[in-house]
């Protein structure tokens, strides 16, 4: 995956009149910018499921995947900790049923283990343009709003500062037997999200939530990328 291919994914989505990329598409764009994401395979054919799951390795996470579906959890399209092939088939049928004919597939991805969830995102401010966000992830994002912003492009100093700025900054340190987060890796992700905004004016918003710390290593487990036509940089 390179940036030209990422560009193509975004262009196709716009050409189809879509407002967002699917999770799988979004992660391909992230990969083009060296942002670590879950290993995953998009399955659109029931018979391909077994091979896909085997290539990822059980246990896996299975998600309904389509550009029109932005909030998967609310629509009961996420299955965690799927242990074997038989369970995978059962979950596949359930998810496809719940998708109610929406065009898409089922994303089979590695189950990333880690108790610390972060959020990294992008918004375009009407006055200052693209701004990158960092904060506590998962359900805490909306409840605590413990977040920091910096305008793109970010220097590594900016990225390090925003990580130190949140009240929950201690979560990035060695705590309760968990290792300290790889802040270099996190700062590379923060800078890369800003670079996506600068490279692709059509990318209007990004949520990487959660970014899970697997040990010290951050991995984007879910991704939302909102696109829009006008290409306005504001």
């Amino acid at each position: 995956m390179n940036q030209a291919m990422a560009q193509q994914i975004i262009q196709e989505a716009l050409a189809q009149g879509r407002k967002a990329l699917s999770e799988h598409e979004a992660k391909q764009v992230l990969t083009a910018f060296d942002i670590p994401v879950t290993r995953e395979v998009l399955v659109t054919d029931r018979t391909a499921l077994a091979d896909a799951a085997a290539s990822i390795g059980f246990p896996v996470v299975m998600k309904g995947c389509a550009a029109d579906i932005v909030h998967k959890t609310e629509r009961h399209l996420v299955r965690l900790d799927v242990r074997d092939a038989a369970e995978a088939l059962r979950m596949y049928d359930e998810i496809v049923g719940a998708m109610q004919g929406v065009d898409g597939g089922v994303l089979v991805q590695e189950m990333v283990r880690g108790r610390r969830e972060l959020v990294i995102g992008l918004t375009r401010d009407p006055q200052f343009g693209p701004c990158v966000m960092f904060g506590l992830g998962g359900i805490f994002t909306e409840i605590l709003k413990d977040i920091a912003f910096r305008r793109a492009p970010l220097s590594q100093g900016d990225a390090m500062e925003m990580m130190a700025e949140i009240k929950g900054a201690g979560i990035l340190e060695a705590v309760r037997g968990m290792p300290a987060a790889d802040k270099e890796a996190l700062s590379r992700i923060l800078m890369a999200v800003g670079n996506i905004a600068l490279a692709f004016p059509a990318v209007a918003e990004i949520d990487l939530n959660p970014v899970i710390l697997a040990g010290e290593r951050p991995v984007a487990v879910d991704a939302l990328m909102v696109v829009r036509h006008d290409g306005d940089d504001r």
Binding site: K19, A20, V70, V119, G121, L122, T123, R124, D125, P126, Q127, F128, G129, C131, M133, T141, E142, K145, I147, A148, F149, R150, R151, G157, D158, E161, M162, E165, A204, E205, I206, D207, N209, L224, V226
Partner: protein, 490 residues
């Protein structure tokens, strides 16, 4: 988007801020008006340059003849003050341009701020004239205050003529007047103040760039509601804050993010969070109101350019003790306890009982002799951890002593001795001494105390000792210094 002219025309800011010949266009001989108001203001404050008055009706004002047109002014002018009706502004501006004016401030309202088509078109015409080679401040503004030249805003006849390091850019004229008067009250001195109103031509970005290079300006303060070009503003702010402290009071902030967004990121990115982040990123100091801005500016203007993290707090009153430590912590300041031998040496010279010298140091009563307080401060400075000392002086208590002595309180309160001693302490130790002058006696029966405190403030400031009203204000201002200078390398 409005900064285009700078590339084609070299702006002569010197002639704008220090004009020798100015025109006031639109003076009425009858009743109050902006034109005659600014004329009287300039006269009162003592503007030394030549002033030409213009009004088609002619006549005289205070013995000065009023010329019927700008064209009738003999020779060239440096600067113009325009206070005619909005409809007559573009033509008046053009005439000033032809008279060689480098700039003009337009007090008149009736432009873009109305939200009408006519207002918008008139402002466009102003911009068109400006592009031909005259820089415009306003319209809908109070203009320039420059103590060195005697240019003053309206209504500003009583503003200070003493220059200092603080510059102020303001979208609000009222804020400029308030800050200028606050500054005069607390001893804050200004280099230049610009109320630019609608900012049709000159506005935040270009003025920031100018002030960044301006040798008369050491601290830049801004009151901003909205910026014309966020990216240019960000860059100009960053460049400015690398050279000198920049303090920003942003009006009209909101927690709400953009509407109709799908991501959590966009919904949480309201203007309050984004502005705070932008200001941090460029290492500007964000303040929440005018008093906080004044106090921060005072600290940056008077204290050495470095962080002060460990401090001593000495004196008396309710703010000492536990309250001081609690108040210091949020600003990244600590008040470390002195070692027992040092405590003993300090306590040995303080009155007993009542004093405690652990840091904070309670000096026992408000009447301890200035020479003793000097020795206490010199001792406290021996603790190598201490970087700055705050002395809370309860001078208002001298009221009752003065009553007993039958003397005015301003003759009894020992602020002159204190100022001289504290200056000496700061000089000998290399550790700044900051004075807090709380005054709970402010009622009509205590106007003599209010006067004495004002005299004390002026005396301390004249000795290079910065003064705050309350301890928490001093701590907050020093906290701003710490954040700015602590991140200077970023």
């Amino acid at each position: 988007m409005n900064d285009m002219p700078s590339s084609t025309v070299t702006t002569d800011f010197e002639r704008i801020f220090h004009p020798r010949r100015i025109a006031i266009v639109g003076v009425s001989t009858r009743g109050p008006g902006f034109g005659s108001g600014i004329f009287h203001s300039l006269r009162t404050i003592g503007f030394e340059g030549e002033i030409f008055l213009v009004n088609p009706k002619g006549g005289t004002l205070d013995g000065v003849p009023i010329l019927p047109s700008v064209a009738d002014i003999p020779g060239a002018i440096d600067f113009a003050i325009i206070a005619v009706q909005a409809r007559a502004v573009p033509e008046a501006l053009e005439l000033c341009r032809r008279k060689g004016a480098a700039g003009a401030e337009i007090f008149s309202s009736g432009f873009k701020e109305l939200g009408t088509e006519e207002g918008r078109l008139l402002e466009q015409q102003v911009v068109q004239v400006a592009r031909r080679g005259i820089r415009v401040i306003g319209p809908n503004c109070f203009g320039i205050y420059c103590p060195a030249s005697g240019l003053t805003v309206l209504p500003g006849p009583d503003l200070s003529r003493e220059s200092g390091p603080v510059a102020f850019l303001s979208q609000s004229g009222g804020m400029a007047i308030d800050f200028a008067n606050t500054g005069k009250s607390i001893g804050l001195r200004f280099s230049k103040m610009v109320s630019f109103g609608n900012g049709a031509d000159l506005r935040e970005v270009e003025l920031l760039r100018y002030l960044t290079d301006d040798a008369e300006t050491g601290v830049i303060t801004l009151y901003i509601e909205g910026v014309a070009d966020g990216a240019a503003f960000f860059d100009a702010m960053r460049a400015a804050a690398r050279r000198k402290p920049v303090i920003v009071y942003k009006g009209g902030l909101s927690n709400a993010g953009a509407r109709a967004v799908q991501s959590h990121t966009a919904s949480m990115g309201g203007s309050r969070r984004i502005w705070r982040a932008m200001l941090r990123q460029v290492n500007a100091v964000q303040v929440r109101d005018l008093p906080e801005m004044s106090q921060a500016a005072l600290a940056f203007a008077m204290l050495p350019p470095r962080p002060f993290r460990r401090i001593s707090v000495l004196g008396g009153g309710g703010a000492l003790g536990v309250a001081a430590a609690d108040a210091a912590e949020p600003f990244g300041l600590t008040i470390p306890a002195f070692d027992p031998p040092l405590v003993e040496r300090i306590e040995a010279i303080l009155p007993r009982p009542g004093s405690s010298a652990g840091n904070p140091v309670d000096v026992a009563n408000p009447f301890v002799a200035p020479e003793v307080l000097k020795e206490v401060l010199l001792l406290a400075a021996e603790d190598p951890r201490i970087e700055l000392q705050i002395f809370i002086s309860l001078l208002s208590h001298y009221k009752n002593m003065a009553r007993m002595m039958g003397l005015p309180v301003k003759e009894v309160a020992p602020y002159r001795d204190l100022a001289a001693h504290f200056q000496e302490v700061a000089r000998r130790t290399g550790k700044p001494v900051v004075v807090v002058l709380p005054n709970p006696r402010r009622g009509l029966d205590h106007l003599d105390v209010v006067e004495m405190i004002a005299l004390a403030r002026r005396t301390f400031m004249a000795h290079g000792i910065v003064v705050f009203d309350e301890l928490h204000e001093a701590l907050r201002a020093i906290g701003h210094l710490n954040v700015h200078y602590g991140r200077k390398t970023v």
